[in-house]
């Protein structure tokens, strides 16, 4: 008995350490959003607002120099950051919608298709997930350039091509999430609806779709996040368009100010709130909809486990 308790304590210590490892960098990033430029760079600066100090002169900002909150306003007023974020949001919204619709249609048909017919499609889907993103990115780049050469109606490198490149991966993810839920649901309720005289469209709208909703929302959210967060595909297919990860990447490589931390902190807050709201919504829909021993409140659906 004593042995069992010590094992539990050992695991708990490990778990706390791993969570510290996961969250320490994020915590540091948030704390350093309130960091002043180094004392020497403040002394050398002649303006009134120290958060106008450019990245090249900001000094060592990986140690604590004192508290300021002006990076938040500096970040929000930066001429490159906000437009890039807006571009990323637009692309992510479009990617989420297109991927979810493609994924939903395919999932509905595939879930109850004969395995032999389904196999080639499945292979294709897994292929889109297994091919490294950098390969998809460069292949898409040469494809888009060639397509534009031969077909003038094809969009030039920009928002549209970023979107076209990203949907491949996201549609596959969306399909797998929605299909897993659809298969798990079984067909008894739909059959009951048909037996009671409801037509195919009405059954879909009133029975199937509402029960698929958690998975559809999860797929859309995940596609949105993947697209918004994606650097590699946009980095090669963007033309001259700047997305938020592209701006972020060049800032991280070539010098930045805590304004980046400030914007990242704002987005982190929004993400955390969104995750909490999603978890609550999924939990409530589970309570209403389904019996069962699901202890994770549908979060496993949200992250694509079922």
């Amino acid at each position: 008995m004593r042995r069992r308790v010590t094992a539990k304590q050992g695991f708990t210590v490990w778990a706390v350490a791993v969570f510290a490892f996961l969250y320490l960098p994020i915590l540091v990033m948030v704390i350093f959003a309130f960091n002043k430029p180094s004392a020497t760079s403040v002394a050398a600066f002649h303006g009134s607002n120290i958060c106008n100090i450019p990245p090249t002169q900001v000094g060592n900002i990986t140690v604590w120099n004192g508290f300021t909150s002006c990076w938040f306003s500096a970040g929000l007023h930066d001429p490159t950051y906000i437009p890039a974020i807006v571009t990323s949001l637009q692309i992510a919204a479009a990617a989420a919608i297109i991927s979810t619709v493609l994924g939903l249609c395919a999932a509905l048909a595939l879930a109850r298709m004969r395995p032999r017919l389904r196999a080639p499609f499945d292979a294709l889907v897994y292929l889109t997930l297994v091919v490294p993103e950098i390969v998809i990115a460069v292949a898409s780049l040469i494809f888009f350039v060639q397509a534009r050469n031969y077909l003038h109606a094809f969009p030039p490198l920009g928002k549209a091509t970023i979107l076209l490149g990203q949907v491949v991966f996201n549609a596959s993810v969306a399909m797998l999430i929605i299909r897993a839920r659809f298969v798990g649901m079984g067909d008894t309720l739909e059959e009951a609806a048909y037996d009671l005289g409801s037509g195919p469209m009405a059954t879909f709208r009133q029975v199937t779709l509402p029960r698929l909703m958690p998975a559809i929302v999860a797929a859309a959210l995940l596609s949105f996040t993947f697209s918004f967060d994606d650097y590699v595909v946009p980095a090669f297919t963007n033309g001259t368009t700047n997305t938020w990860p592209i701006v972020l990447y060049s800032a991280v490589r070539f010098g930045l100010t805590p304004a980046i931390n400030a914007l990242a902190t704002i987005m982190l807050t929004i993400t955390v709130l969104a995750v909490i709201v999603t978890a609550i919504v999924l939990r409530r829909s589970r309570v209403r909809a389904a019996p069962g021993q699901d202890q994770t409140g549908g979060l496993d659906i949200a992250v694509g486990l079922r």
Binding site: T12, T62, I134, I142, F143, V168, D187
Partner: protein
């Protein structure tokens, strides 16, 4: 007796009745058409051009002529590139093993010991997964910075080395491994462990013979789930090694960004996919074997 007979025939007849059922809710196959067309154009199309480019001949800066030229593939045999290939696969392997070592005990702890806070713990694992990959890598860079606290007071100055890359790999891919592993641990029937210990098995033996065996498919899936993107990793080596410790992905990127040697970049891409497919095939063989034995 009559009741028993009825249920008896009922259960026997059920499969036949199911097959003969006049209607089975099914969705038309054409619903797959939109995604099929999409994949055909925007996935298979680029892949086909990639193959064509890899066999093309480079003519000066940025122009090429199509053909069947395997010179680019020969160039990959150059020690300069085989080293990078080997390094990428070894680092992805080390990264995956470290991820298992760090993540499995956590998933085990969540599945075995948590009840009320299971949901919260899962949320805590997922939140980093849903925050920006770049921001997380940048946050690591702040901590590992040579002018930062870790270098100053703990003497750990590993930024721009392979150690920083390994830390970055584990840090970024940990949630992706924990989720499927947790799912397989969650399905475990813990009374089996109780039965084993009741019958005199030592806890470690029970773990090795029951828990580990039952959760191995989940662990392998999780490991592959992190190994594959690690081999194609582009951002982490670039930011955390500062170009000192490039992966194949970075070399591929360079051929399209700076060198403008697209045939060579394409050939490297195909070779990377070839190397990866070996692992995927081994996994599929493993998975089908597992299925056969009903695990």
């Amino acid at each position: 007796m009559a009741v028993a007979e009825q249920t008896g025939t009922g259960t026997v007849a059920a499969p036949a009745a199911r097959r003969k059922r006049s209607f089975r809710p099914r969705y038309p196959a054409w619903l797959t058409a939109p995604s099929l067309v999409y994949y055909a154009i925007f996935f298979l199309g680029p892949m086909a051009i990639l193959v064509a480019f890899s066999l093309a001949t480079q003519r000066g800066f940025g122009s090429l002529s199509y053909g069947f030229d395997i010179a680019q593939y020969r160039l990959i045999g150059n020690p300069l590139y085989t080293t990078i290939f080997a390094r990428t696969l070894v680092m992805a392997g080390i990264g995956s093993v470290l991820t298992i070592a760090v993540g499995y005990p956590l998933a085990y702890w969540m599945a075995r010991y948590l009840t009320t806070y299971k949901m919260l713990a899962l949320l805590l694992v997922v939140v980093p997964f849903w925050t920006s990959f770049l921001i997380r890598t940048y946050a690591l860079k702040i901590i590992l910075d040579p002018n930062g606290y870790l270098a100053k007071y703990a003497g750990i100055n590993i930024l721009y080395t392979k150690y920083a890359v390994a830390v970055g790999l584990v840090y970024n891919y940990l949630p992706l491994f924990i989720l499927p592993t947790f799912a397989s641990l969650e399905r475990m029937d813990w009374t089996l462990i109780e039965a084993a210990t009741d019958l005199g098995a030592r806890p470690l033996t029970a773990f090795r013979q029951i828990t580990l065996r039952l959760t191995l498919p989940g662990v392998i899936t999780g490991a592959l789930l992190v190994f594959i993107p690690m081999t194609g990793e582009y951002i982490i080596p670039n930011i955390l090694s500062g170009g000192n410790y490039e992966f194949v992905g970075n070399v591929i990127g360079d051929q399209f960004n700076q060198a403008q040697n697209q045939p060579f970049g394409s050939a490297l891409s195909i070779a990377l996919m070839g190397a990866l497919s070996v692992f995927v095939i081994v996994y599929i063989l493993f998975a089908t074997k597992e299925e056969q034995f009903g695990a």
